[in-house]
């Protein structure tokens, strides 16, 4: 029988270090999409909180730890969130889908991280508008993604796994452009 070797979505593509910015892949552990049924958001949130310690997040927000494989949950669209870093408990009042292998998750870290992302996404990344724990469904180049601020100069981007190569390419090019401009200054 064939021996199958599991690879991460960005295997062979990351890490990158360009100028002041590093791009690394995040192994988030189990990733589960949770969509509470109509009127069941509170019940689902309570069940999640009891089982893994984080409830269901408000729109454009995340809950939980952002370092290591600890439970956290990221809002990812109308009535939807992804739970990461913990096995999903039984949630009888929600639609639940295992998406552990479906997302390419990368972190962009460094003094110019926001400048790099700003070249690719139309959202307002200013400190006053996009704070730690804030998240957005938006675009990076032409891809629909989830962008989350996880630190003062650290951002996380989730894209569909099939887009991993394109995501890394776009981030690499933007980081090179920002570094080139900094070198001129």
């Amino acid at each position: 029988m064939a021996r199958l070797i599991a690879t991460t979505p960005c295997a062979g593509l990351l890490p990158l270090a360009i100028g002041s910015v590093t791009v690394t892949e995040v192994d988030a552990g189990p990733v589960t999409l949770i969509a509470p049924y109509d009127g069941a958001q509170k019940a689902t949130s309570d069940a999640l909180k009891a089982a893994v310690g984080v409830g269901f997040p408000a729109p454009n927000r995340t809950l939980g730890q952002t370092q290591g494989k600890r439970p956290r949950i990221v809002w990812c669209g109308m009535g939807q969130a992804v739970l990461m870093g913990a096995d999903c408990p039984d949630l009888p009042q929600a639609a639940v889908v295992d998406q552990s292998d479906a997302w390419a998750i990368v972190r962009i870290d460094g003094a110019d991280a926001a400048a790099v992302l700003a070249r690719l996404t139309p959202i307002d990344l200013r400190d006053s508008q996009f704070k730690r724990g804030h998240t957005a469904r938006t675009l990076v180049a032409h891809m629909t993604v989830s962008v989350t601020r996880v630190g003062a100069q650290t951002y996380e981007v989730m894209a569909m796994r099939s887009m991993a190569g394109t995501l890394v390419h776009d981030l690499e090019q933007a980081a090179k452009n920002v570094a080139a401009r900094a070198a001129l200054a």
């Binding site: 454009n60 669209g77 109308m78 959202i123």
Partner: protein, 86 residues
């Protein structure tokens, strides 16, 4: 152009897909007759002034919204979720 998604806040037009006149939400009764259905399916106003359009926040939260804007001044005056009462 920026559109105020009721869920995500003000966002770039690139994140949205235009879905036509919001009259599409006012579906006639099944037995309303040919004239009403013809009007609903095919006839659209082309106002110089306030217009109500459907937009899909396709590259955002996924919501369908009704955006009120002025075709003369380009001012966007508001947006509501479709099916908000649900």
């Amino acid at each position: 152009m920026r559109l105020p998604c009721p869920i995500c806040g003000e966002r770039d037009r690139r994140e949205f897909y235009y879905q036509g006149d919001a009259v599409a939400l006012d579906r006639p009764a099944r037995d309303a007759g040919g004239a009403a259905w013809d009007d609903y399916l095919h006839n659209r106003d082309n106002p110089a002034g306030e217009t109500r359009d459907l937009w899909h926040h396709a590259a955002g939260c996924g919501a369908w919204i009704v955006v009120t804007r002025d075709t003369v001044t380009h001012a966007v005056s508001g947006a509501k979720l479709v099916g908000a009462k649900r």
